[in-house]
Symmetry: D2
């Protein structure tokens, strides 16, 4: 089975690499060829357009940062939609607005191909280790055909039903991670301002029932003033924006989400490329 | 060493019972004698006023719900302050406003006695099992004299310096627990409104890096529609109010806390006596 | 000049009526014919589809509640887009999402017709009296051709440039009205809860520099417990949602808007059809 | 009748000056004597302590910025409380926390004197012109004795009942001014970020039903980038903090107030001494 992989950023390069090592024939595309270098030297073939990639592949896998990037590779005369047809499968790992996922699903199916939305849980390190969790929704048949590939990049795959169920779960998941971590970090910044040592406070909290690997990973880095990007601030802002938008569409009362989303907006200009845990600095500065 | 214990609610009765079983001479006081019955039948002596209790005890331990309750047992002609003097130690386990803790500290020391603020981490079950965490601040000498008693009701005791450092840590701790859980539950209520099964979403989240005993304990009960009180809604509202007040005093920017505090106010009339996890219902109703 | 008017609700019926009385040949369309009765008896011709209306008219004027309603009359085989062509002008008075206005503008221009977005300021009574303010953006030529018609329904017309400038101004305008009134009503509900007479407080405030006809009109009704709809709660929620969405697109920090939007969501189920000033009841209940 | 006036800041100097010009014997006190110079040269006598001032006066008038300042002049051996007794009247024009007003009232009455809380509406210019509005609560007898003095500094005096009714009204009043203006300015900053001219937007809004002298005065200055202090940012933050505190005490749901209070905290370090309308810059920076 030939796999075309579009998007070789932090996440995509790890995933494509694991697929390549597992023996799949890999075609890759990235806006800047630079990032494909290592994969090419290990045998992946670089395609000059998403359309060419889709022509050569059975499965078109996409891992991009946002809706704009997905549109840029799918639409237009060089877009992969041009090359789709019966027998092809598109799986979009990108976290996009659920309504866009529905739209892309329609565009793919109009051309006779099958579609899956397959947002993933996990960031840089799980992507490199092939230990992501894949949330899949869409054509069941396509899902089954992709299983052997999905297994090479994940520790768990869940089939959730129709599009955009997986996008919805992804949106709620990221909301829960971002808002609970933000709430916690706000508390630590508050602690510092009232004269407590935030590390001491963290140690107390972290010896209690709320201790978890996510908070520990993020907060130890924050306390060490390390904001190297695992999940970027601007990406988390984007996902919070999706949550706000879906909540508004469904008229859900989400005041904590709304407040957290504003704090992210307040810090966006300054911290866009840092890790999302840089939200701590918005409270502390 | 004779211990007087004031306040025999959910927390206090568990603590007093553990002290009694450890062999201390126990004097107890509660506004309604009813709650002292079991302790009395096991050998504790009931005092008719806080003042009488303080006369008979070396250590005056207090575990009450709020500032008002602490004032009611300390002030006035029957209050324990009347009976204080050199050699007596007061330890207040109640979670109170840090500024009140400072005030009570002064009142106790003016009378020649020693003072500790000793808020605890843990709710009903750890109180019963003697597995609380005690955050202590105040007179070091008093702290050392209380150690043998504190060990009977806790798994860990931390000395944090001057009053109100322990109160501050307690306030931040409860803020972190309440705001992160609220943020998470808001996400689950949102999930339900957009057509997802909240249990499925919880299972996905709970298999990831954010999984922790606190969220698991609370959310499993929420999903089972069980809001039996371990930590009451009104008590958590009270503690959030302390956090809001201290944040305002120190001019700390705490928008998530502020938003969560408002949601608690919105639900207070209806859910005061339920578990604080009933905040889920404020989002879901 | 023949005018086709689509949408005969609270606003549209007043506007169409003023145009009819001014001597224009009027073609009207409404989902339910019932609402066209009075206009028909005064000489307007009812069309059975938006397409038929556009065939018979030079100017197609639209006044509907939201994007969905605009799509319902423009798209499909009976939609007015089918009948557009060179020489026709579409003016949309509805308050819609600015991005939708851009989309509708493209669809109209693709067919060779001209487009104006013309959201209005003012509600029921100014619509009836022909005293609206029209904010116009789009083809300058179209704007000039519509002037004589616009003058019959407004006291002021402003040309603001390209689409969606008028929509943007409308969004900001409604945000300012809704958030400032909500902030004020929250204060009055607060006053009542702390034992003050809200009427007394209003009288004091209203004798000061903040006094204005809008607050006075709304608040006197609130104090008289009159929530008859001039501008519906659900419509204002819709407009706040547009503001939240545009603010997110442009990454603007808007915490007050975000908070007010959540309060509107909290009250939406119960108060959708009442006047937007029913937000007072969300604070007071 | 001899009047002692404590506090000669922006407000107090205008008020004291109007009383002096009206022919009252004036005794004045200020922490820094500098500010009393002009009054002294016009015949007011400077007292070296608040106690001395209270000894020499029948009426003790106070106009200070906050609770701390009021405590500093009332308590201790030089405080005015020391010199109170039957026949003296204290009127506090300062905006203080309602609970502190109750406390000060008790302290004054314990000494046999009478007490009024008399917060004022209006800032710098009305103070200079003698056109304030006085909200009075407390001893009716004292109120009547002060009438002739109050008339010299105000255009309107209202008697509202017992302490702290006037403080409550003042808190709600300032909340309504601050939150509605903040909501409006947030909209203008938003307008600018999406490419609209804020002045154009203001002109449109200001030609509608929401137009009022307060918004006009403030916003014209904002648009001219003039943030000279009429009512300081830090003073408005203080008053919002009182509102938040009272709302929490009474368990009132006030999410807009809570959100606005956080924005003020976010900007406090940078804008403390500017006019409160500098809140615009917190949105715009």
């Amino acid at each position: 089975m030939k796999i075309g992989f579009i998007g070789l950023g932090i996440m995509g390069s790890g995933m494509a690499n694991n697929l390549l090592k597992s023996g799949f024939d890999m075609y890759v595309y990235n806006r800047t060829r630079e990032k494909a270098k290592e994969l090419e030297s290990n045998g992946a073939k670089f395609c000059s357009t998403p359309k060419e990639l889709a022509e050569k592949s059975d499965l078109v896998f996409i891992m991009l940062t946002d809706v704009g990037a997905c549109k840029a590779v799918s639409e237009g005369k060089d877009g992969f939609l041009e090359a789709l047809g019966k027998g092809k499968i598109v799986a979009n790992f990108s976290t996009v607005h659920p309504n866009y996922s529905l739209e892309l699903c329609s565009l793919v199916k109009e051309r006779g191909a099958l579609f899956l939305e397959t947002p993933v849980l996990g960031s840089k390190i799980p992507a490199q280790k092939g230990e992501l969790v894949i949330l899949a929704a869409g054509d069941k048949e396509a899902f089954e055909k992709c299983t052997s590939a999905f297994e090479k990049i994940s520790k768990k795959v869940m089939y959730l039903g129709d599009v955009p169920k997986a996008s919805y779960v992804k949106v709620v998941n990221n909301e829960a991670f971002a808002t609970s971590l933000t709430a916690y970090l706000e508390g630590l910044a508050f602690a510092r301002k009232i004269g407590l040592d935030p590390e001491m406070v963290f140690n107390i909290l972290n010896s209690g029932a709320l201790a978890n690997p996510y908070f520990e990973f993020k907060i130890k880095k924050v306390l060490a003033n390390d904001f190297e990007t695992h999940f970027s601030f601007e990406n988390m802002k984007k996902d919070l924006g999706y949550a706000v938008s879906v909540a508004d569409e469904f008229k859900c009362y989400c005041p904590t989400l709304a407040a957290v989303n504003e704090v992210f907006k307040k810090g966006l200009k300054k911290h866009a490329k840092e890790d999302m845990s840089a939200i701590f600095k918005v409270f502390d500065e």
